[in-house]
């Protein structure tokens, strides 16, 4: 066994450490919760934190591993959230088990987000750099606008869907029967949803996301994707199908974001499309960059810290978001300034030998 660990690659060790860390964190949280040590604030944040961890892991696949800047990741989350909510609400009468409903909703959310990811990915991935970034932003906004026009209801005759493009329809235009459920009311979003998401499901989703992402990265496909990131032309010249591998990474990323979105949607009784706007995409991007591009455990830690930070700063009341902004700038300066960085590396020289740590600090280098 010892021998096995010795011969293991550093990257593999880091992966196992990441799994172990997540499981450990889960066990600790569950223990604290059962002993009643957790405050309401923390308990309430557990599920959204899981969602955002999945979001940043999946975005890291696009930005860190594939090396393309995406500014519309929240769009996929939105697709997942709304399809997940529709599924859950449609099944609320026929399926009694909440767990089954959650799983089915997550699956549906994942599939729809993957389909949208494919539709978006085919044109988007032909572009490069900031042009690609702006097109992902554009798709994110288009998805938001379309969901803003969407009217969905459910009654015993089935699912009713209408698009309110001219601003004159309302949920009554669907003509639902008496015991019909109004699921999505255009720009007002979905309200009155069942809150069925649980932390355990969130943890399982994080583990699945982590397994999918890490296995993809360490596989043949992952190496091809990273080869494209580092030098597209060189990769092409050795016979790597650039479009195929880019699409694999992009669609996987979209699908995982859809799963995260579905869980997110099931955690709130009111969700609107405006919540998944450009700012949300940026928020997740901040998690990814701060955690280190291509660095999965970095993403997880950065997500947890940055999600909790604005809540922890509530004692500053009016100055809360100001302090958050200052902390964000200072952390970026501290982790990315060459002078400060060399100071830190000298301080923790051992970390330098760790391959992934170096890549974490290198941050941003891939996007040029």
């Amino acid at each position: 066994m010892k021998q096995y660990f010795k011969t293991m690659k550093t990257a593999t060790k880091v992966d196992y450490a990441t799994y172990a860390g997540v499981v450990l964190a889960f066990v600790i949280v569950m223990l604290c919760q059962s002993m009643g040590l957790l405050s309401r604030s923390i308990t309430g944040m557990l599920v959204p934190i899981c969602c955002y961890i999945c979001m940043s892991l999946s975005l890291n696949l696009t930005v860190g591993v594939l090396g393309e800047l995406s500014l519309g990741h929240a769009g996929f989350m939105s697709v997942g959230a709304f399809t997940g909510i529709i599924t859950s609400m449609c099944l609320s009468a026929s399926v009694s088990s909440e767990l089954v409903r959650i799983v089915l909703s997550l699956v549906v959310g994942t599939i729809f987000a993957a389909v949208v990811g494919l539709v978006v990915g085919i044109p988007v991935l032909r572009l490069r750099g900031d042009y690609l970034a702006i097109v992902t932003l554009a798709f994110g906004e288009i998805i938001k606008d379309i969901i803003n026009c969407l009217l969905v209801g459910w009654d015993e005759r089935g699912l009713h869907i209408a698009l309110n493009f001219d601003g004159t329809k309302s949920i009554d235009s669907l003509g639902l029967s008496e015991n019909g459920i109004e699921i999505i009311k255009g720009a007002q979003g979905a309200s009155g949803n069942d809150r069925i998401a649980t932390f355990v499901v969130g943890f399982v989703l994080v583990m699945i996301t982590l397994i999918v992402v890490l296995n993809l990265v360490r596989s043949r496909t992952g190496r091809a994707v990273m080869a494209i990131r580092d030098n597209r032309i060189a990769a092409e010249s050795v016979g790597i199908n650039v479009t195929k591998y880019k699409l694999i990474a992009f669609v996987t990323s979209a699908a995982l974001a859809g799963a995260a979105g579905a869980l997110f949607g099931l955690n709130y009784s009111s969700v609107s499309a405006a919540q998944f706007d450009f700012n949300t995409s940026i928020l997740v991007l901040v998690y990814v960059v701060l955690g280190g591009l291509g660095n999965m455990w970095g993403s997880i830690i950065a997500t947890v810290v940055l999600y909790v930070l604005p809540e922890a700063l509530r004692q500053f009341s009016d100055y809360r978001m100001l302090v958050y902004a200052i902390v964000l700038i200072l952390v970026m300066l501290a982790t990315h300034n060459p002078i400060l960085r060399s100071f830190f590396t000298r301080l923790f020289r051992r970390e330098k030998e760790d391959g992934s740590a170096v890549r974490a600090v290198k941050g941003g280098g891939s996007h040029e």
Binding site: S39, R40, S41, T43, G44, M45, P48, N148, D166, G167, T168, S170, I171, D172, K185, G186, A187, Q188, G189, S191, G192, R195, Y268, S269, S270, V271, S272, A273, A274, Q275, D277, P310, E311, R314, S317, D318, R320, M321
Partner: protein, 407 residues
């Protein structure tokens, strides 16, 4: 019940007088009777079991930062004034107010709610806006926290939640009432509607307005929408409304975008009749706004900072001296909200050492009989139905010479 009611009316009348004297507002002999013009209210069930006492922790959730911060800060400020006034009375019931920011986001609102619960919140004044309210209300319902929203006007906020009450009108109430008023007072108006379609409030009023207008066979010639992201430019909607021949524009929106619409319509030389709802209140107080543009604008409003009754004057003076701002309708709703909670606590006779559930159930029982006169009820009494909707009739006013006048 009737007898105790008259008795308590007289008693609270006296109480109000002393309260006003404390505020230092000189009585200029207004036409209002003292009791009906004051925020303190008659308490219909003072004979209820037990004497209310103790310090109650009231939580407030609203957008204190971000684009909607104006509404949240107004509510927080006004609630603080009301709480300090009540505490200064020195009665057995004392209130403690803790406020939390939700940035007008449903997700953050839930976090804010959890934070308040950690701090021992017993009663919730919130949330200020409808979207976060829809996310928070299911929690307060499950955990039996008595909830009074000052301005979350969506019908869905109170629907099916016995613990949630509103200070403001519901959206359906306003939409229907606006259509009625326009139909009765204007001759065959050609109506254009400009509304904000990513806002529950605006969309809700619009839906009810259109439904009522169709019933009455009114002519709606144009409907234009905008969103949070595009609420700074209305030239295209206005041009379209103008070319569709609209001579009346219905604006179920808040006053900030409305001020842009008025300014841009003026710059185009387009002069239809504008008809707003309660969100239009505040338009005269926008810093730097040319108020002459608002001349002839109709609106439904529960509150006017220019009202001459003493309660309003005292409140406006206090608010201005503290926050250097003229309070808007949100502030007035919040101020009333705190007094409503105070009255309900006294009526229910709850003590602060009771559990949230006991307080909630007692307050719900008390709300049915409660009637309160506040800043936002225009001298009449506010009462609540079982659903939690307030009954106060939205009154239409027109702006003339910079003040609200009943047409």
């Amino acid at each position: 019940m009737k007898k105790t009611r008259i008795l308590s009316l007289a008693m609270t009348g006296a109480l109000c007088l002393s309260l006003l004297a404390g505020c230092g507002g000189g009585n200029g002999g207004t036409s209002e009777t003292p009791a009906s013009g004051t925020p303190a209210a008659e308490n219909t069930s003072s004979a209820a079991a037990g004497e209310a006492s103790g310090t109650f922790t009231i939580g407030m959730i609203g957008p204190l930062t971000g684009g909607a911060a104006i509404y949240g800060t107004a509510v927080a400020n006004a609630a603080q004034i009301a709480v300090e006034e009540i505490n200064a009375l020195g009665g057995p019931v004392q209130l403690e107010l803790i406020t939390q920011d939700d940035t007008n986001d449903a997700e953050t609102a839930v976090n804010a709610y959890n934070n308040l619960m950690d701090q021992g919140m017993q009663i919730l004044l919130g949330t200020v806006t409808t979207q976060p309210a829809l996310a928070v209300v299911p929690y307060t319902y499950d955990e039996r926290v008595f909830t009074l929203t000052p301005s979350g006007s969506g019908d869905d906020v109170i629907e099916g939640n016995d613990n949630v009450y509103q200070v403001c009108f519901t959206d359906s109430n306003q939409g229907t009432r606006s259509a009625q008023y326009i139909d009765e007072n204007f001759e065959n108006p050609q109506i254009a509607i400009i509304y904000k379609n990513d806002d529950q409030y605006s969309q809700g009023i619009r839906d009810n307005f259109v439904a009522e207008a169709e019933n009455r066979g009114m002519s709606i010639v144009y409907e234009g929408t905008f969103t949070e992201a595009s609420q700074t430019d209305f030239n295209n909607q206005l041009t379209a409304a103008q070319s569709a021949g609209a001579d009346m524009i219905f604006l179920p929106i808040y006053y900030t975008p409305a001020s842009v619409i008025l300014t841009q319509a003026n710059a185009m030389g387009y002069e239809p009749t504008f008809f707003g709802v309660d969100g239009m209140d505040g338009i005269l107080t926008v810093d730097g706004f040319d108020t002459s543009l608002a001349e002839g604008v109709y609106l439904l409003t529960p509150f006017s900072a220019d009202a001459e009754d003493e309660a309003t004057q005292a409140f406006v003076t206090e608010y201005q001296s503290r926050f250097e701002d003229i309070p808007n309708q949100f502030a007035a709703d919040a101020y009333d909200g705190i007094y409503i909670i105070y009255e309900a606590i006294q009526a229910a006779g709850v003590t602060s050492d009771m559990s949230n559930e006991e307080i909630c159930d007692a307050l719900i029982a008390a709300m049915g009989d409660l009637s309160v006169v506040g800043l936002t009820s225009a001298g009449s009494e506010m009462t609540w139905d079982d659903n939690g909707a307030v009954s106060k009739d939205p009154a239409a006013v027109i702006i003339e010479n910079g003040v609200y006048v009943t047409p």
